[in-house]
Assembly symmetry: C2
DNA sequence: CGACATACTATGCGGCGCATAGTATGTGAG
DNA sequence: CTCACATACTATGCGCCGCATAGTATGTCG
């Protein structure tokens, strides 16, 4: 782990799309918190090494918003865990955010290119 | 103007790259605050309609950081204005952020695609 | 001269990532 | 068996920054 010197800039980047990324992950299949943490760390080339203090409050927020729903699982072996899955609302939200994200990044790109070529 | 109901999501998106966008703009040529405001509103399909309360503090911060330098212009006609231009440090910062931004968005895209196809 | 655009300054709120700390159960090496 | 470590969730407070809001002051144009 050992999150090396997170710059403010990368913090702001992460902050801009935590919701989106988690919602997208849950489109695949329901997951519990810790599983999401590990999954994100594996993908995304180390850009998404969420702290627990980032993820869990985020999950509470998404649940409060009605976009995900959690249910406790008490397996025969292993620790109890809260499994989160996308609601119908959440699926809609994910699609909307995904589109908005694409539109926005295109706008940024056009500004960057324009300014780097003249 | 009349910024219609800015959603939290788009606020977070904007927040993630205000520095980058302004630095990129100033790569072209020096500009004063109000000019930047208008320029950004024109490009980027309405994604960057900064409030004054967003831009000016941002400029102060970038100046404090040593990335831009401001000098007062008192034209024969018209209002006095503070012209900001990129410093050498600022150019380096712009390039670095630009790269980081690209790397990051690629990571997000890969997560989005992966999750939308399975 | 009054309305509106131009142009900058100043202050405070609110949301959220992160740091930090705490709780508690499961597992595996010795 | 026990101690270290991984797993898994809960809780609290700080700090940054976009935004809202308000204020000041000089141009321009009908």
């Amino acid at each position: 782990m050992s999150r090396v010197s997170t710059s403010r800039f990368s913090t702001e980047l992460v902050r801009s799309c935590t919701d989106l990324v988690v919602l997208a992950l849950l489109r695949n299949r329901p997951m519990y918190g810790y599983e999401i943490l590990v999954n994100l760390a594996d993908r995304g080339n180390g850009e998404f090494e969420f702290q627990q203090g980032t993820l869990y409050p985020l999950l509470y927020r998404l649940e409060r918003e009605g976009w995900i729903a959690g249910s406790w699982e008490t397996p025969t072996t292993g620790k109890r865990r809260k499994i989160y899955s996308l609601t119908a609302e959440g699926q809609k939200a994910e699609r909307a955010r995904s589109k908005e994200w694409t539109r926005f990044t295109r706008a940024v790109e056009s500004i960057l290119e324009e300014c780097n070529h003249e």
